[in-house]
């Protein structure tokens, strides 16, 4: 065979192998988790922090614009080498490839703590948005940490909990779990409640990490329980939703259509709203043993994010790329907004009420998507889109 023919054959072979590899990766998601949205105080006012993949950004609630860095010396905007105003963004590319899925915590006026997905706790100078110190962790972090009793309680992606002192960031106690912890721990009095992918709900003593009780819920527990009226409300992957006493006894349970991943919401009438991964939303009366008030299939695909309730509305974001406004009394669909290109809406929503520290004059519903061009979308309560934050 001549040399051109041989080259062509080699090229074909390489292309075939690459095609095989690429085809094999179809459907294989590149990301680890979905965006985390939280509030963080910066320069005396509350801002929105969004952590997703290789960036952590801080935004202005009024318009979704990245917050500008201000010099503490002269109050002027900080500028980069090209004289452009610098904005508050922490990039993984500038920090050894950090990946962010966890909300930052404010340690003091000039310091944020960020646990990344690369087994590091980053101490960030919030004035200049740069990492000041990096502390190695035992594992990756994929959920928001909890701050309570002078401790930062970090849930680990592959299993276990670590409590670190906010004074020196040294580990005070740790607790092992068989599988990962993918939900923010919950503080219930002097207990920390941990939801485990290993099917267990754990109650630990806040000060020492001592196990007080654990409860096998028959399926993975991936959401932060809701604490209301001295009861815990949580769903699991065995298609059930539970009401549990604070000493770890199941008081009642309700069967859902599919896995329950998101945290529930509760209104002032003690009706709890829970969504499942079949696209159903269920309204359950907590005063009568989780009796069903209504149950409706709202979305075409699953609902991962927990619903939110505000006034007479229930808000739901689905994997089908739509946000739904429901009447909380009967689950009737009031409004649905489709996000452009219908990216999956997996991250938890956040509702911001008007306040001086937020500098907004109407309530905002924040919805995150996994599409960089529409990473965070703000809606008014009436369903009007207020702003979009693209990355």
């Amino acid at each position: 065979m001549n040399s051109i023919g041989k080259k062509r054959l080699w090229l074909c072979a390489v292309l075939m192998c690459m095609a095989l590899a690429l085809t094999g990766c179809v459907g294989a998601r590149m990301g680890v988790s979905w965006p985390s949205v939280s509030l963080v105080e910066l320069d005396g006012s509350d801002h929105i922090a969004i952590a997703y993949n290789n960036e952590l950004s801080i935004l202005t609630p009024a318009n979704g614009a990245p917050a500008r860095l201000i010099s503490p010396i002269n109050g002027q905007p900080l500028r980069d080498n090209d004289n452009n105003p610098r904005t508050w963004t922490l990039r993984g590319s500038d920090n050894d490839g950090s990946q962010f899925y966890s909300a930052p915590l404010r340690l003091d006026e000039e310091t944020l703590l960020v646990a990344d997905n690369n087994r590091r706790l980053l101490k960030v100078d919030s004035v200049i948005a740069e990492v000041a110190r990096s502390i190695p962790l035992a594992d990756k972090v994929v959920a928001d940490p909890l701050v309570a009793g002078g401790l930062m309680i970090l849930p680990y992606q592959n299993g276990g909990i670590s409590a670190r002192s906010l004074q020196d960031l040294q580990e005070v106690w740790s607790f092992p779990t068989e599988e990962g912890v993918w939900a923010q721990p919950l503080l219930a009095g002097d207990m920390v409640i941990i939801a485990g992918i290993d099917h267990n709900l754990y109650a630990l003593r806040l000060e020492t990490g001592q196990l007080l009780w654990s409860l096998d819920l028959g399926g993975s527990v991936a959401s932060r329980p809701l604490l209301a009226n001295d009861r815990l409300y949580v769903g699991s992957f065995n298609k059930s939703f539970y009401e549990i006493s604070l000493d770890g006894i199941i008081l009642s349970h309700y069967e859902t259509q599919n896995w329950v991943w998101g945290s529930p919401a509760i209104d002032e009438y003690n009706i709890v709203y829970v969504a499942d991964l079949s696209g159903f939303v269920h309204a359950l009366d907590t005063e009568s043993g989780l009796m069903e008030r209504w149950s409706r299939q709202i979305a075409e695909r699953g609902i991962r994010a927990g619903p939110l309730v505000y006034q007479d509305r229930v808000f739901v974001a689905s994997r089908d790329g739509k946000v739904y406004w429901l009447d909380r009394r009967d689950g009737e669909l009031i409004n649905a907004r489709e996000i452009d290109e219908r990216p999956e809406l997996l991250g938890d929503m956040m509702l911001l009420e008007p306040s001086e520290t937020l500098q907004i004059d109407e309530p905002l519903l924040l919805v995150t998507s996994v599409h960089d061009a529409r990473l965070l979308i703000a809606f008014g309560i009436d369903g009007r889109q207020t702003w979009v934050y693209p990355r």
Binding site: M1, N2, G5, K6, L9, W10, C12, A13, V14, M16, C17, A21, T23, G24, V26, G27, A28, R29, G31, V32, S33, W34, V142, Q157, N158, E179, W182, I197, H199, G218, G219, S220, A222, F237, N238, K239, N258, W259, W261, L277, R301, G302, R304, R319, L346
Partner: protein
């Protein structure tokens, strides 16, 4: 559409996991064996087609010599030759095309079932078709090859790459490389490309289609093991288990003994049929219809 293939695989894998004492490696091995066994008729057909094509090579070569410069006539003569011998030149591709999505589906089922991150696990919720399997989630991702020797051989995390596992996990990419090479080598020897080297050497300025295919197979024998060995370094250990199992089954399927047994199981007699000998004459390039064909014997002159 793709979910029609993928979701049953994920479900069966989870079901096997429950059936086999929650041993995910055993479940992967058993599912791979079942799938490779069920797709064997397709593989056999592909091999048979390749074999027949190979047998026609001398006559094709004669046609090329005879109709040098007249592509249209040569093409007609080739088609006639194929028709008379009931050979479809693309016939070997069809079974491969069918097998390919099945094998990719199996590969992906393992990927999804071993979900280790929220993103992967949220997908799994829509893939389990049998009620009751939800309580098995997450599938046990820690595995020890010899549970009695945990001190010497710590558990492997099947969702992590060999480089993130105990050192002995690095043997897996090596195993993938060796078994892929062995399978490719056997494919060349038994799958109709036994003459790859000869074809390669014989070929001149106008390489035949069969020669190109043979040369490509030969190239694949070198590239595929290296690439798959390399992939295994970064893919999860669970997928390496699949690669090794799949390759070992392939080795059995392509080996003469293995083929004999499998042909008996699937009652395939085609492999034993004698090829149809077609003589080319001056005015009729392909003359002998199949019913008049004789068993191939050395011709006396």
């Amino acid at each position: 559409m793709w979910d029609l293939i993928l979701n049953p695989f994920v479900t069966i894998l989870a079901w096997l996991y429950a059936l086999l004492n929650q041993d995910i490696v055993l479940a992967i091995v058993v599912l791979t064996v079942i799938i490779r066994f069920l797709t064997y008729p397709l593989l056999a057909r592909q091999q048979e087609s390749s074999r027949r094509m190979q047998q026609l090579q001398p006559q094709l070569k004669k046609l090329q010599e005879k109709y040098k410069g007249d592509k249209e006539k040569m093409s007609q003569a080739q088609m006639k030759l194929y028709r008379e011998n009931k050979v479809n030149p693309a016939g070997g591709c069809f079974p491969m095309v069918i097998q390919f999505p099945i094998l990719i589906g199996l590969y992906q089922a393992i990927f999804f079932a071993l979900a280790a991150t929220p993103f992967q696990l949220v997908d799994l919720s829509e893939r389990l078709l049998i009620p009751g399997l939800d309580s098995l989630i997450p599938l046990q991702r820690m595995w020890s090859p010899v549970p009695q020797l945990l001190d010497f051989l710590p558990e492997l995390d099947l969702t992590l790459a060999p480089t993130e596992n105990p050192t002995y996990a690095l043997a897996l990419p090596l195993l993938v490389l060796v078994t892929t090479w062995a399978q490719q080598k056997l494919t060349m020897m038994t799958g109709g490309h036994a003459s790859a080297k000869k074809e390669d050497d014989d070929e001149d300025e106008s390489p035949s289609a069969g020669g190109q295919a043979a040369a490509m197979t030969k190239s694949m024998t070198t590239i595929m093991p290296i690439m798959f060995g390399f992939f295994s370094l970064s893919f999860s250990v669970g997928l390496s288990v699949y690669f090794v199992t799949s390759n070992l089954i392939g080795i059995v399927q392509y080996s003469p003994q293995g083929r004999r047994v499998l042909d008996k199981v699937f009652r395939s007699k085609k492999a034993d049929e004698a090829p149809v000998v077609v003589e080319l004459e001056d005015d009729a390039p392909v003359t002998k219809p199949r019913r008049k064909a004789r068993k191939k014997k050395p011709r006396r002159k």
